[in-house]
Symmetry: C2
Subunit: 104 residues, 2 copies
DNA sequence: AAAATGCGAAACCGAAAGGTTGCATTTATA
DNA sequence: TATAAATGCAACCTTTCGGTTTCGCATTTT
């Protein structure tokens, strides 16, 4: 299926799942209670998130606990880096402008 | 069509367009030269990026220059904030561990 | 041992995505 | 003024997406 991390976070349900898992590891059933779709639909989302290595599984008896793989989230931040440079520069320019006005 | 910014950056071509525009404003034709798809396909991507307010248009004669709307990119960073707190905490824990080992 | 629970996988479906071709419109040029 | 260039839009097609229902398989509970 070859999905990447950006496709993974494109879906609002998956983003919400990631936020849930940021707080604590959860089972598919527990996660599904937070949404209006079926457990199976959530399961599909978890499969995608697992493939992208955004979440981990740990089986305990018949339950599977999913937890956030925080390191993978950094990849988004790394992509953003190239734009951060720009908005920081823009901020500095504004900063400079304000300072100039102030000293008039 | 109601797309959000996360859907906008889900497509690799659109991400590449954003990177191109980060360097300089460009026309659809110029942008399309960088990809294997038709100008019309690129035009569709630009339409989506415009709807999401990730890019601006400026018409000059018969040409339209597209430029990056950097402020909108910050929204992704803002969403990431909630996860950053986690990975910074993890880093600090590791940091502490390393310090402990060092002082042994 | 039988029933219930937790889960994933498969089959199916409608909607949306991403691409192409063909056109209409506006602006520049010969 | 006729032609070329730059662009957006619409129609169409194939693939993917996200959902549901049905099922099978472990594991736990009664």
């Amino acid at each position: 299926m070859r999905r990447d991390i950006f496709q993974a976070i494109a879906d609002p349900t998956r983003r919400a799942i990631l936020v849930l898992l940021a707080a604590q590891a959860m089972t598919p059933n527990a996660i599904a209670e937070n949404f209006n779709s079926t457990r199976q639909a959530v399961s599909k989302h978890l499969r995608i998130l697992t493939e992208c290595e955004l979440v981990n599984q740990e089986q305990i008896g018949r339950e599977i606990y999913y937890s956030l793989e925080i390191d993978k989230m950094k990849e988004i931040d790394e992509w953003l880096e190239q734009f951060k440079k720009i908005w920081e520069t823009k901020f500095n320019q504004l900063d400079h402008l304000l300072a100039t006005i102030k000293n008039k």
